[in-house]
Amino acid sequence: MRRIARVAASAVASAAQMRQKHIARPSPLPEYESVATENGVSMNLFTAVNSALDVSLARDSKVVTFGEDVAFGGVFRCSVDLRDKHGAHRVFNSPLTEQGIAGFAIGMATVGWKPVAEIQFADYIFPAFDQIVNEAAKLRYRTGGQFDCGGLVFRSPCSAVGHGGLYHSQSVEGYFAHTPGVKVVMPSTPTEAKGLLLAAIEDPDPVLVFEPKILYRTAIEEVNPDYYTLPLGKARTVRAGKDLTMVTYGAQVNVAQLAADELAKDGIDVEIIDLRTIVPWDREAVYQSVKKTGRVIVTHEAPITCGFGAEVVSSLTADCFLHLEAPPTRVCGLDTPFPLHEKLYLPNERKLVEAARDLVKY
């Protein structure tokens, strides 16, 4: 009992830290970003997702959303009130079958609909792996462009939540980044969650949107209540710096900021890049930053071996070789299943700070 209480307390503490830290945004914003906060209304990440679904259902009669427990509002409240507003035929529960959800969504998309299908936790997307990897990702290619399921979006809560253990914590983006034919997105703020989800719905290819569930209630900012999109494939410079680049995405963006604040006390000036889109990732933004700083840490929650960080490090090693002043470094989850010893497992800010100090001294 005591142990459970301790874990819960540490989760609350880290959530509180995030609440303080997440709001910082660089100024000025890139031009296409400013619309994301226009006439802003305070939203957290789940209300931003809800707003995206609401706007999308209202403007396009071909959009439907479904999944396990979606009808009553969803276990994370992302679809709350949508059934009343848009009808039981367009916002509905599925039977409890992820392979069914994926296949059903592909079928709807193939005949011209735009299903936004929810997988309750990213940890439970694996029963749908065959449908996503063998079917959705390959449909356009194997038919020579005669058929596609481009209207298709899968949304799924992902990553650590403080006490999720093996099956409520996983970051699965790497599995899908290895699959040609799908795009993969992971927002780190409410404006990103809304703008990227709306872009995913309009995108001509199937898109997987992974939403870090720890941010659902903790990340709060001003969000444009109307329709807007943020471009897929474009990274965001969260913080400008000259000594070292941190490349990351999702909830780990906040951890990188905590580390950068700490490193600033040592006079180490960190630049943070939030990839936002894993596939296709914004190599230009990363390369530009690394060419400037000469040092790079790629950090994500998912296990290190064959994680997406490996792709980033190997690409920039090939393309920025002469600009590197230290080995590109990964600070990632361990190669274990996701444990209840979450704090030690995660690539937390302390680990990032140590790695950054080593790199600067290299």
Binding site: V64, H89, R90, F92, S94, P95, T97, Q99, G100, A102, G103, F104, A105, I106, G107, M108, A109, T110, V111, G112, W113, P115, P127, D130, Q131, N134, E135, K138, L139, R140, Y141, R142, T143, G144, G145, Q146, F147, D148, G150, P180, G181, K183, P204, D205, V279, P280, R283
Partner: protein, 409 residues
């Protein structure tokens, strides 16, 4: 005794209030005091219209297909059967890499296709090319796909027999089994939302019905009221696996009933029965906005594929017996001859014509080039991603330097 019954009646009515929660209609008795294991010892019979001699036995269910349509059905079956015979030989000669025949299942496939409307959308497994042929898919189109040459609109990207046609409302076939089943449920649900006079038809085999996607798709279809027709071709084998190793229940049709959809078992070698049942189920699906299931009993006369020698796991005598007894083309021919609408000479003539067309197409298409290597880089996503653009440039430059190494393109 009376008091006791009254007390239990009271308990039953208590349970009855829960019917809405459980979504189960108990009828007049929610509970029982008998521990019944519910072992089913009954078998659902096959619906049939004509006997093996082509006589209509059940006049009440004679679909009375008009002569012109009957002729089209017969022509399609004979032509497709003959095409199969020649293309399987072409594979043996190395002219195409792979092939799968539909021997013995012509009536199941063509009969069900004929019982549908042209706007109905089809998902197939791979042994239903005759349905495409019935809709107008041509021999040159089939051969182009099997060869993957420049005339294949799918750009030569899949193995032979993975046909598809947007014009004919037939979704392109893929190899992973049963994946099309939940997809067909989704498409059928879309048609319901569109209030369309359209069903989504989903073919699969008895082996595929063991995949998880069968369970997922069929259950999804009933809970959403999808306008989907599930058609199982139960032909006795999944490659080498006989049905006794595939399931121990009463085949596939009780599963449809268990999930809550009207379900019919049909003699799949009786064209009239297949046609009649398909038509009837179609009107139920569109009228009642719910899916339905058809199990077509048949026999896979041919090998599983050109990579399979089926005599390693079943006797030639079994194949001979099933082919002689249940031959769907011979059976329908007898029906047509009795009607005075057909003659054996016509069958021979179609076979001869088909042979000539297939052979001359093989010769013509063997001279066609394959799609250019540039097309390898199209269609993964709508617009190629930056990484693929770079791979395209590097690979094509490499190709130019090493053309002789790569042979025919």
């Amino acid at each position: 005794m009376l008091r006791r019954s009254a007390r239990w009646l009271c308990v039953d009515s208590t349970f009855k209030k829960s019917e809405a929660v459980w979504n189960i209609k108990f009828g007049d008795r929610a509970t029982t005091h008998d521990l019944d294991m519910h072992r089913s010892n009954s078998t659902i019979p096959m619906f049939s219209v004509m006997d093996f001699e082509g006589n209509v036995v059940n006049a009440a269910h004679d679909p009375a297909i008009p002569e012109g349509e009957c002729r089209k059905i017969m022509e399609t079956m004979v032509r497709h059967n003959q095409t199969d015979r020649i293309l399987v030989e072409a594979q043996r000669q190395g002219r195409i890499s792979f092939y799968m025949t539909g021997f013995g299942e012509e009536a199941a496939v063509v009969g069900s296709a004929a019982g549908l409307k042209s706007q109905d959308y089809m998902y197939m497994q791979y042994r239903e090319a005759a349905a495409l042929a019935y809709r107008g898919y041509t021999i040159p189109q089939m051969i182009a796909q099997c060869m993957g040459n420049v005339e294949d609109p799918a750009r030569g990207r899949q193995m032979p027999i993975h046909y598809g046609s947007p014009e004919l409302n037939v979704q392109t076939i893929s190899s992973p089994l049963a994946t099309q089943i939940p997809q067909a449920a989704g498409a059928g649900y879309a048609f319901k939302l569109e209030e369309a006079d359209k069903v989504c038809v989903c073919y699969f085999g008895d082996g595929s019905a063991s995949e998880g996607d069968f369970h997922a798709g069929v259950n999804f279809a009933t809970t959403t009221g999808a306008q989907t027709m599930f058609i199982c071709r139960n032909n006795g084998y999944a490659i080498s696996t006989p049905t006794k190793d595939q399931y121990r229940g009463d085949g596939i049709v009780p599963r449809g009933i268990a999930y809550g959809m009207p379900s019919v078992r049909v003699d799949g070698t009786d064209l009239l029965a297949v046609y009649r049942a398909t038509k009837e189920l179609r009107s139920v699906i569109v009228g009642e906005k719910q899916p339905a299931m058809l199990e077509l009993m048949g026999y896979r006369v041919g090998h599983h594929s050109t990579s399979d020698d089926s005599t390693r796991y079943r006797g030639k005598d079994e194949i001979q017996y099933m082919d002689d007894t249940f031959n769907p083309i011979a059976r329908f021919e007898k029906y047509l001859v009795k009607k005075g609408w057909w003659s054996a000479e016509e069958t021979a003539q179609i076979r001869d014509e088909t042979r000539k067309v297939v052979l001359s197409e093989l010769v013509r298409q063997e001279k066609l080039p394959l799609h250019p290597p540039e097309l390898l880089f199209e269609d993964t996503t709508k617009e190629p991603l930056p990484t693929l653009k770079e791979q395209r440039a590097a690979t094509l430059a490499h190709y130019e330097r090493n053309k002789e190494y790569y042979g025919k393109h």
